[in-house]
């Protein structure tokens, strides 16, 4: 590698532990395609969000009490009495949402530009694993303040496992550590909520090792063929990532200081009451599309399978999409269906927040069917028959010069 130093101490460390040259390689000379657009910022934004969650979370954990009689009040104490407690909790609450916003855009970027295709299949699958771990972490975090939505969200979601034939009930009792969501449940959720983010960090490291093995995709979806196609990470993308971070933080500050509860639910400021279910239980907004899929199927086990299936199809997507062309820029039909898929996903999110009655139910069923149609029929069967991709440019460099 091109890392060189005249400093004796640095060289001494380097000969024993090549940490500095690794850092130099990843953040300095690592070659990036030179045509990336701003959609390539969301990976580093998600990383920033993860670090923020861990830092604010550890500070919250110093003040929080995981006991059914004290959890709600300990959070209120954080909000009223602890120095800057309101700020730290609101950062943790709102950054959880922004983390999901960043990751959803990051995923959509991957879908549009075909970043899941060879040789990036494992990179993509590690991403799906991170997404699953994030959902588990956020779900358990939302239980900790022990409000009405915490309690009933935990009840409904843990009960999903009772749909498993034969052993379902025993699994649910085991998850709860009792016969309903109660103190043992809150305790273990706190332990796991503390643990999982660090597991996410570990998977993120693997995600990045895989990324650096196969290098970044780009809006054209063609490979870098030489130095004329790339730029070094420093200073070009360090500065672009930092600029993106600035914009992200301005938006974040808008929510944090002016509408900190906008993305939450007021019922979670009512202490948990195991004897009374709120009229409409809704999960946090980032779960709504999957919640709509769960409710669309009028059968308990079927609904649960559809919900997990919605993520399972992402996991096998690299083999469902049979086109050799990565970027939708050169796929005139896939591009149209990408936008339909995105709108359908947003519509599912809207439906997930509505009560399961009347036309909402029928609409969720249609939208759910469309979701699976996209992955299971459109991509593998229909598109290969009807789509004629446009001609690819011969290199990134040439395409950049032309535009």
């Amino acid at each position: 590698m091109s890392f060189k130093t005249n400093n004796k101490v640095v060289q001494w460390v380097e000969d024993r532990l090549p940490l500095i040259s690794m850092g130099h390689h990843t953040l300095y000379e690592y070659p990036m395609p030179k045509n990336l657009n701003y959609l390539w910022n969301f990976g580093s934004l998600a990383g920033f969000a993860l670090v923020t969650m861990i830092v604010t979370g550890i500070i919250l954990a110093m003040q929080y009490t995981p006991h059914v009689d004290m959890a709600f009040n300990s959070v209120e104490r954080i909000m009223r009495d602890v120095n800057n407690g309101w700020l730290i909790r609101y950062i943790h609450m709102n950054m959880a949402s922004f983390f999901f916003i960043a990751v959803y855009i990051h995923i959509m970027r991957g879908l549009y530009y075909g970043s899941y295709k060879a040789p990036r299949e494992l990179l993509w699958q590690l991403g799906v694993v991170i997404f699953l771990l994030m959902m588990a972490t956020a779900f358990m975090g939302y239980v900790l303040p022990w409000g009405q939505m915490s309690f009933w969200g935990a009840t409904v979601i843990t009960n999903l496992f009772s749909a498993i034939p034969v052993v379902g009930e025993s699994i649910v009792t085991w998850l709860w550590g009792g016969f309903s969501v109660d103190n043992p449940t809150l305790n273990r959720f706190f332990a796991l909520h503390y643990l999982l983010p660090f597991i996410i960090v570990a998977v993120v490291v693997l995600h990045i090792v895989a990324l650096h093995t196969v290098t970044s995709n780009n809006p054209l979806g063609i490979d870098m063929k030489g130095p004329q196609d790339s730029l070094t990470f420093q200073p070009y993308y360090t500065i672009k990532d930092l600029f993106g971070l600035g914009v992200f933080l301005i938006l974040f500050a808008g929510f944090l200081f002016w509408a900190p509860n906008y993305m939450g639910h007021p019922d979670n400021y009512i202490p948990a009451n195991p004897l009374s279910t709120p009229a409409h239980i809704v999960p946090e907004w980032y779960f709504l599309p999957f919640y709509a899929i769960l409710r669309a199927v009028p059968d308990k086990l079927g609904g649960v399978l559809a919900m997990f299936g919605a993520i399972a199809v992402l996991f096998v997507l690299p083999w469902l999409d049979r086109s050799k062309i990565r970027s939708c820029k050169f796929r005139p039909v896939a591009r149209v269906f990408f936008w339909i898929f995105l709108l359908n996903g947003l519509f599912l999110g809207y439906l997930g927040g509505k009560p399961a009655e009347g036309w909402y139910v029928v609409a969720s069923q249609i939208a759910t069917a469309y979701y699976f149609f996209h992955f299971l029929i459109l991509l593998p069967v229909i598109l290969p028959m009807i789509e004629r991709p446009r001609e690819l440019p011969s290199s990134i460099h040439e395409a950049v010069l032309k535009s």
Partner: protein, 184 residues
Amino acid sequence: MADGANPESSAQGSGETRREFLYLTAGAMTVVGAAGAIWPMIDSMNPSADVLALSSTEVDLSPIEEGQSVTITWRGKPVFIRRRGAEEIAIAEETPLADLPDPQTDDDRVEKPEWLILVGVCTHLGCVPLGQKTGESRGDYGGWFCPCHGSHYDTSGRIRKGPAPKNLEVPPYVFLTDNSIKIG
């Protein structure tokens, strides 16, 4: 283990099988040992002795009027007690089993027809159905209605419509006297 075998011993035909046997038994013992070590940890998450100890509750039924419902707690869950009127009992008894997604006669669900005792937890995903308080929706079948995903239960607590797969559970209980029961 073919790559581990040296040509001489496999020529004799004895060394390889002996080594394979050792691999296999050692491997099997490791699996048994690991499972034995992991099980206590998994089992520690099951309900503990103190949680199990809280598992029975006595209830005095005398203050409950006909047509009235009360909710009590048992094992952290709501239990519905409804003193049914003659009409409600008749509807429940006359419903043909063919109309029920989870067929069960009313008789199988009560000790005394007047007293319907149920775990007040929707068998879909665990919400507490409405219908205990006056003014709350009782659903299309006059029993309970779960607002979470729209399950309707009848006057015997049986599922009639919606995503819930089973009837509301009847907890184990005995009449201690004519006017009091012990649940659990």
